[in-house]
Subunit: 362 residues, 2 copies
Amino acid sequence: MSDRVYNFSAGPAVLPEPVLRDAQRDIWDIEGSGVGILEHSHRGKVFDGVIERAEADCRAIGSIPDNYRVLFLQGGASSQFFMVPANLLPDGATADYINTGSWSAKAIKEARLYGTVHVAASSEDDNFAFIPTPDQTRCSPNPVYVHFTSNNTIFGTQFRQAPDTPDGAFLVCDASSDIFSRRIDVSRYGLIYAGAQKNLGPAGVTLVILREDLLERPARELPTMLRYSTHAQKGSRYNTPPSFGIYLMGRVFRWILDQGGLDAIERRNRAKAQVLYDVLDGSGFWHPTAQVESRSMMNVCFRTPGEDLDRAFVEAAAREGFMSLKGHRSVGGMRASIYNAFPPEGCDALARFMRDFEARHG
Amino acid sequence: MSDRVYNFSAGPAVLPEPVLRDAQRDIWDIEGSGVGILEHSHRGKVFDGVIERAEADCRAIGSIPDNYRVLFLQGGASSQFFMVPANLLPDGATADYINTGSWSAKAIKEARLYGTVHVAASSEDDNFAFIPTPDQTRCSPNPVYVHFTSNNTIFGTQFRQAPDTPDGAFLVCDASSDIFSRRIDVSRYGLIYAGAQKNLGPAGVTLVILREDLLERPARELPTMLRYSTHAQKGSRYNTPPSFGIYLMGRVFRWILDQGGLDAIERRNRAKAQVLYDVLDGSGFWHPTAQVESRSMMNVCFRTPGEDLDRAFVEAAAREGFMSLKGHRSVGGMRASIYNAFPPEGCDALARFMRDFEARHG
């Protein structure tokens, strides 16, 4: 029996319990080495095995082509907001960005330090309640790349498929909140980045998958640590990497493979979200905030008929062991974050609780 | 009884066992919250307590004055190599650097991207076997700051006291490998930085202590994540911080206080190093590589009479449970890294092993 609650945190978020059990053991002594995972040299044999296995499993999960590099960096997606244009957007060139919420807006702000940003589409006028369709997206004539945020944690929206790009442009994706939650065709992208703390592991490690040829055209001179080429040449070990984060991400990768890989994970995530959306669509009591065709499988955002009732819901839920359901202040209401590691039975239990709550207050 | 070995790794390095035991428990469920430390929101009450306590304990240990900020950043000392000049060295201005080894040299290289570097002293001609004295140090007339590396892991040297600075210049210190290993007068510094993975915690979190007034004179426009002011204004939570690293660093801080603070830690470290230097000085068999007056309390570097014997020593030691004693390739021989958390009985045991080895091979 677990004394753990259902944790709907938007990130850092719940991790698979078998991974936590492994970590508890390996912090003391990993692989009978007599040394814990936190204390191993990042250049020793034990960590060689950890990082090599993590990369191999990552490649297996995403069917990542050989001409892509897998990097484990620090600084979160917030650092990628500037590292992408710093490395890839030359002075005077243009990059296209699709603005679907706070994270896109921050990425746009940092890119403007380096080049021209063309906002190819935005859902800002509708408080980011939808994902712009291809028809609503107008790219510039010759962008270096097109950047989008595949899932928007705050507004509970998610791209169904990656946007189109003009000829010659490559696609850049901030996939922090839905990486490896569903199948992905990596070959369509130039660069994918994701902070680990939602679907992949702990805060403090960032996965970057990038096409090898992009390393050959640095946009400008940069400090050593800010160049993708530094980390690619040194296998993410130019300096001491966040070794525990890489270890834990590797364990999560193995857990994803154990679940059956992305086909199985996507089915599982789809079913989890459906359980909650079925409740929301089942009566007029609930007000899901994202438009139907843009709904996220990762973050289910909704309101009751009033703010007082929203508060009562969050408090009553917490008493029953459903934690961190309060929505982000810019949307209000509730948000159930149900990333990969969130258990299906937690969605079932929340759905029952919601129906009970509606019966009492509807 | 512990199944753990004596781990002389130069970093990531051994951690206090009570801290590891706490982490094993808290990874599953911290403070009865039903959620593990890795899975808590960085904006929730549990993590509020973790980061506030970590900062308070850090301030208590270092007697850090109120006009200094304590930041928990990512990217290691290698990122501070460029963040220091990027934030603090205006175009056309000069910074002085003391070159005492590989880490100083890397810091110098990054600073040259932003301003003029004057090397005020260097021990490079003697393979960095000593720390330049004040007499050997020639500062430029008007540097913005003077930068030094307080302890040199590779060469086993350590400053006895911080260098002097010309009027108007502030002191910057890379203290990655000896932070909080001895008393420190923070008020003498403008900025101190330290990657955690030697004396403070796991890889992936960097402690930065800086004087508040330095936040008010940014040298240039920088991306949001690269500005010290961003992290100072947001209490190290502008974006998701490396929350587990901060948690663990906080536990190490508490352990340091439990040991009696820096007075006690310094006595303990001094005694630990003395045990090994006594063996090295006790016969002509051993060749300590650092000059006597520059010897480090953290990294004890030495050779036997020959390279074959060095190899035999490292192998025989490993069989007896003394791990990671091989020296860095640029010095050769052996290196015993004995940071704060390395237990005194490990130094005693190694000293016995060294005497036995000498008796067999001397």
